[in-house]
Subunit: 252 residues, 2 copies
DNA sequence: TCAAAAGTGTTTATGCTACACCCATGG
DNA sequence: CCATGGGTGTAGCATAAACACTTTTGA
């Protein structure tokens, strides 16, 4: 997010005490975890119901505060592992939200401690992802278009995550982190349309473009789903993809 | 940066005291400020010499710790304003580095306080950017290929910044934040070659592609630099560009 | 009048788009 | 045998890549 300098009124550099009035922080990690239900063509995001103040009883992204000796990424994996059992997953840092007053705990009982949130963006395979209901808290896959008002600034976080997902889909092979290991080309196409919206491309063109790239291997196995001609099941061939890594790809 | 789950040895969820052993943080902001010297076709990055421990006397990015009531972005603008007077600048968040042991102060005198760094990516116009030498500390524009060993993990931060710069150049009109207000098309071309490396495109093709996009307006004024035919001075026309915003552009 | 830098144009190959069409299956 | 979804092919247009050429200046 670009920000433009608008002749801000700078803090006067008084070299006084205020120079050392550093804020103390707790650092939280929040995971925006996406998945796609290929059967129903729905884009899902994982929400948990908060069991503590603030925002008790509201939906939010699974998050945690960072512990002693723990890296940000470790913390991200830790809550992830608490909420979900997934065999395969993709995780990367999303954005850091750190304004004052973004967390109601700040001004309250905790002597000016600030809460900063480093958000992470994750993708998991829907079929392989087993939610861990600990019997107490709520946890649910929410269709993206039905996400309610969230705790903290999490609706803004979601915006960032969604934008990242769309970009990733276009320029990197993340789709195969979300699809089951074996998938048909229409599965792939449906995934793209549900995330990127209708009319992003013609099916047959999408198909030939992807096949020409050469990293989708036809297993020969056919999948019959109701009426119509059975489709071939494909698999993403990581070796064949390797040379294309960090080349400017377009999956449009 | 994608990270892959490698069956990490998770912290045992003992529900013991360790559950609440939250780390305390100071949060720093570090600015990776790029500029381009069009006269000499050099890509520059702003470094300051540290005046305090740790890493006293080593080069680093201008940074500061976040103060009470100050947002991350405010802090970024604050140090920026301390080091440089710029009329126009571009700033966006880059990445957050937060592993334990990234700052030697952590294990030392400050009872386990962690130091986290939110890095920002900035672009300024070389001619308009006036460095503020406060008489004490060193400050300098370093050509990217001559950057020395830096303090903290700043060499890694620089890698991130450089990658971001290259991507931004290809997909967004940031080049015009770095160029002077009036520039020739070869200035623009030189900028792209110095950042993206030789042979990213033929000059004449680059030229016609850019002109066809229609947001470069010819001022009619000619600029003569030594021998050769004088070049037209162009200006970036923000209004003409507006409709193309967030369309998938390619400036290759 | 020549070299250097700016600017124009042309040719060829490649790619995207929009279709029309054929194939295999279940009902 | 027909509706449904899977899969193939192609004509026309737009763009990219390579390169030859012209124009305008300083020396």
């Amino acid at each position: 997010m670009p920000e433009r300098l608008q002749r801000k009124t700078a803090h006067s550099p008084t070299h006084s005490l205020s120079d050392r009035a550093l804020a103390d922080f707790k650092v939280g990690v929040d995971n925006v975890i996406f998945s796609v239900d290929t059967a129903q063509n729905r884009l899902l995001v994982l929400l948990v119901m908060r069991q503590e103040e603030p925002f008790l009883g509201q939906w939010s992204f699974p998050g945690t505060l960072v512990r002693h000796g723990e890296s940000l990424e470790d913390a991200a994996y830790r809550i992830l592992a608490e909420k979900i059992r997934a065999r395969n997953l993709y995780l990367e840092q999303l954005y850091t939200f750190g304004g004052p007053d973004r967390d109601p705990r700040e001004s309250a009982h905790s002597y000016g401690v600030r809460y900063l949130s480093v958000s992470y963006f994750a993708l998991v395979r829907f079929a392989e992802a087993e939610l861990i209901a600990d019997g107490v808290s709520g946890i649910a896959w929410y269709p993206l278009d039905q996400v309610p008002q969230l705790a903290f600034d999490h609706n803004k976080v979601l915006e960032y995550g969604h934008r990242r997902l769309r970009n990733k889909l276009e320029y990197s092979p993340v789709a195969f982190e979300v699809l089951p290991e074996l998938f048909t080309l229409s599965d792939l196409y449906q995934l793209y349309t549900t995330v990127l919206g209708e009319n992003f491309s013609d099916y047959s063109n999408f198909r030939s473009r992807l096949l020409k790239m050469g990293f989708l291997s036809d297993t020969g196995v056919k999948a019959s789903r109701g009426a119509g001609r059975p489709a071939s099941l494909y698999r993403f061939d990581a070796e064949a993809f390797a040379p294309l890594k960090d080349k400017p790809l377009v999956f449009i």
